[in-house]
Subunit: 222 residues, 2 copies
Amino acid sequence: MDATVIKIGGSLALYQEKLKILCSKLRVASKKHNILVIPGGGEFADVVRVLDKRFTLSDSVSHKMAILGMDQYGFLLSDLIKGSQVINQLKHIQNIFDSHKLPIFLPSNFILRNNPLENSWNVTSDSIAVYIANQLHIRKVILATDVDGIFTRDPKKYSDTKLICELSARKLESMNERTSVDKFLPKLLSKMQIKCFVVNGLFPERVEDILDKRNAICTIID
Amino acid sequence: MDATVIKIGGSLALYQEKLKILCSKLRVASKKHNILVIPGGGEFADVVRVLDKRFTLSDSVSHKMAILGMDQYGFLLSDLIKGSQVINQLKHIQNIFDSHKLPIFLPSNFILRNNPLENSWNVTSDSIAVYIANQLHIRKVILATDVDGIFTRDPKKYSDTKLICELSARKLESMNERTSVDKFLPKLLSKMQIKCFVVNGLFPERVEDILDKRNAICTIID
């Protein structure tokens, strides 16, 4: 399918006005490009983490609860993106593109029914976005987060760190550092023909540049 | 249907050990009584409230997000109640009773599809529990919360307050005080043949007493 999956990271919800700008830019971009939005988990997943720790829940149950958190954020995004439509079945996506709406995929129905991925906190919305893209034969995934991409060391902790412009899934898998993407992602990407862009959604012009195939500050996992 | 709906309030998740005791007592009680558990919202709904305030979401969207929070808590409860089974369709409940399992109803599938109730924060899991009970012709609903019942004044704010043992839905509707149940509940109850018990779930023996038709410290709305 000729389209781009954009995962809107949950962390962006902490930047209310900037998230609104990103959403309105996506609406404009969706007139030129087929864009499928997949929501992150953010604060909705964080509360699941808290309860998981408090009750030592089973992996399967906390996984399901976190994915419901993605649905919650998807509904929130549907309020911010004019002309969007939430969907929970992959087969409806082409119809929504055809009707010039911007689809937001709520993953719980699909993921809870099919359970295709490891049930652990290593699998978050990053892996789910890539998994869904692959199901739809979409070859371009943008992971919009609140940092500029993948760094040599965690930029929220260290100052002596550098943005990596491009790296392979295999190289990403071998990194010991915690990065801005989930741990399962490189495993998935190494099996798939997908080009993945990790980009700072606080700068919507970078997302537009990637959609329009211009150079942008980001990390490309290829 | 000869059964009792028990809504397990989300606030009880703050009392980890006590919630576990309540859950194990419910499992025992379910061998004598048909019990249908409906989850509250608690911390999962609270994060929706925070995001609703931050983004001034539409009533419809925040309602859906909060109901997904009930599903999340339902999954959590399924980990705490041995022999339980989550379901999202009302028609399966009798089968689950027949197989001696304890059903936990995840409301999002039903409520998001049918949208039978006002979309506002006046409608919480209290009203949803009563609505679902009525759909199933269940005439007894227990709302297990973290206070002893409905008081003349909010017991978390005032010391000069008294537990009300029994009151009508109409009387409840006329109360100006914020109570431990949602604002929409009396409107619903006034139209239904349901006896509703508001009880402190931190004392599971009170819940057992109500199930066994013994007197208990609680508020009966009749």
